[in-house]
């Protein structure tokens, strides 16, 4: 019986880290601010420290008070953690440094709840982020996640299927043909 570990009433699993592979490829391929929609046990520490080391601005949005409480002490000049009442209130179309990086996010991670809401934010971000990493793109979730409805909004797409939980990388700015090399 494996040891069960819990963060914010969520039993941790290595499966939840599978989007790190895409994030680790995306960050070095871009400059400028990074956006995280939905705080997470694996993505937030990685993005926090990766952006700290690179001197990049990170903005994280969350609607859940519990997740916000977990990470609020990480607020810093480089990491802005914002609690919003609902995702419509997340005004991420306003990029922190509009004169840098063409006024778009370098990378945006879309991993928030509810799952079926993610396509709304992906559509909003289509022209506002150089690379979008969208977690949990497994076909079994497609009936309600409906990721396929936003794929036509992007010129480039590559899939991460190296783990149980899949991710998809989308862009209108960066050719992703050699993204995994």
């Amino acid at each position: 019986m494996a040891k069960r570990l819990e963060v914010h009433k969520l039993t941790l699993s290595a499966n939840y880290s599978s989007h790190l592979a895409a994030l680790m490829q995306a960050l070095p391929r871009t400059d400028g601010p990074v956006l995280e929609l939905g705080l997470g046990t694996f993505s937030t520490p990685y993005l926090h420290y990766a952006c700290l080391l690179a001197g990049r601005k990170l903005v994280s949005y969350e609607t859940d008070q519990g997740w916000f409480e977990l990470f609020k002490d990480w607020q810093s000049e480089l990491h802005d953690i914002r609690l919003v009442a609902d995702w419509d209130k997340a005004d991420f179309e306003r990029v922190p440094s509009p004169l840098v990086n063409g006024g778009v996010w370098g990378v945006a991670l879309v991993d928030h709840s509810p799952h079926e809401r993610r396509v709304v934010e992906v559509a909003r971000l289509a022209q506002h982020a150089r690379i979008i990493v969208l977690h949990d793109s497994d076909e079994k979730w497609e009936p309600w996640a409906r990721y396929s409805t936003v794929y036509p909004l992007f010129r480039y797409r590559t899939d991460w299927d190296g783990d149980y939980r899949k991710a998809v990388v989308l862009s209108n700015y960066v050719d992703l043909e050699r993204f995994w090399e």
């Binding site: 046990t41 520490p45 420290y49």
Partner: protein, 169 residues
């Protein structure tokens, strides 16, 4: 069920990221955890570069070993040992991360790796827990050392092979 705080179990990440970015060779992890193992696993996948993780807890070994084996991640070898003294670690490593339990296992492991690893990253280096870990016993074995104390538990990098004078994060 044990409850963790991610801010605390990830405080070694900035040092790990910094040394991983400076190297491209094999990686050793002694003592697995959600903060280090998954970052190192995916960081090594990108290159790819070999990583070997040793774990003495059957529960942790099952947790990570089973997951990685199921997906056929050939670059990451997860090995179970009853006692870290039995871990076969005397060979060159670019990065060695030492976060083993119990605390008393760390000093002997660091001593064994002192001339084998380019960078040795150690965790829990604050003075408050020095009586538990006794790192003062192995600091004199190293020519260079960099302490990172921005987030507790603190961490440090040790080396006899790489000059850390200009190392800074």
């Amino acid at each position: 069920m044990k409850t963790l705080h991610p801010v605390k179990f990830c405080s070694h990440l900035p040092l790990l990221m910094a040394v991983m970015a400076r190297t491209d060779g094999s990686v050793l992890e002694l003592g697995m955890g959600y903060g280090s193992s998954l970052y190192l696993h995916w960081a090594c996948a990108a290159r790819p570069r070999d990583i070997v993780s040793y774990e003495n807890s059957p529960e942790w070994y099952e947790n990570f070993g089973r997951h990685f084996a199921r997906h056929g991640y050939v670059w990451h070898q997860v090995l179970s040992v009853d006692d870290f003294a039995l871990a076969d670690i005397e060979r060159p490593w670019s990065v060695a991360f030492i976060d083993s339990s119990p605390a008393k296992t760390r000093v002997p492991l660091i001593r064994r790796l002192a001339d084998w690893a380019d960078y040795i990253v150690i965790h829990d280096t604050e003075a408050r827990v020095e009586s538990e870990f006794q790192y003062d016993r192995i600091y004199p074995l190293f020519r260079w050392r960099y302490d990172y104390a921005d987030h507790a538990p603190y961490s440090a990098v040790l080396s006899n092979r790489v000059d850390l004078t200009d190392f800074h994060i």
